[in-house]
Symmetry: C2
DNA sequence: TGCTAATATTAGAACACGCTAATATAATTG
DNA sequence: CAATTATATTAGCGTGTTCTAATATTAGCA
């Protein structure tokens, strides 16, 4: 019904009020939405996505110094990338002696799995 | 093994060559990786993610003018957001008379489903 | 044919991002 | 303890992003 347009249904100019009276409001809270966006944005960068893939592919954790040559950016950049992935809940850290090992979270695993599974779905 | 560190295993300074000899190389092609990043980055913005949610929540397509008040940005911005989602393979367009209806692709549906399903996985 | 409505496109401004280089912190080793 | 190694943090720079406002395009209608 919301998408049914009749004669009298005109284009409302943007009034600035985003009260959404025309489409079914999504059942997500502000916080959930923001968290999702943070997660997706964290994964949505070449360096970070590649890092995530490398971490997911390793058996028992990867440390920063191993990622540096693989990603081809500076140590600082790797650290920043991992911090961002951590903040987004996509990786976990484990400190062991002088090193810090990173592993992926279940959420990241599921996300990567979906990316793999739906790649073939060549938007028909 | 790659993550096993012994005495002689030193930190190699970044030589600029990113040939990745230390971690198992991920089985993704350059193109697949770039496409995934584009998809995730497209979804990873407040405006676009909210648009995606609204489109996914509607039964049979949403048009731009319906999204404008809901998203609270200008018409041009909505159009740009939808174009980006389209380029990323997350939505489909259908032209009908004067309007253009947007629907989500199976890939987007799966992606949103995973975000919902894994939200509870409060990184244990 | 003009007129209006829906959407797309463009230019430009404000801001965010991602990198490097340098420096700081923390843990290990001699 | 000093020296070294792994990682984190910070400043700053170039670039990309995302918005608005204005304009262009396209389709229906009088």
């Amino acid at each position: 019904m919301a998408s049914q347009r009749t004669e009298g249904d005109r284009h409302r100019p943007a009034t600035g009020k985003s009260s959404c009276e025309c489409v079914a409001d999504h059942p997500l809270t502000e916080d959930q939405l923001a968290a999702d966006v943070q997660t997706l944005a964290a994964a949505g960068s070449e360096t970070r996505y590649e890092a995530l893939r490398l971490i997911a592919g390793a058996e028992s954790g990867v440390c920063v110094c191993e990622l540096e040559p693989a990603l081809g950016v500076s140590q600082g950049a790797v650290s920043q990338a991992l911090s961002r992935l951590y903040a987004a809940g996509l990786v976990r850290r484990r400190k062991e002696g002088r090193w810090r090992y990173y592993t992926v979270t279940p959420r990241a695993e599921r996300l990567l799995a979906v990316m793999d599974e739906t790649r073939a779905l060549d938007d028909e």
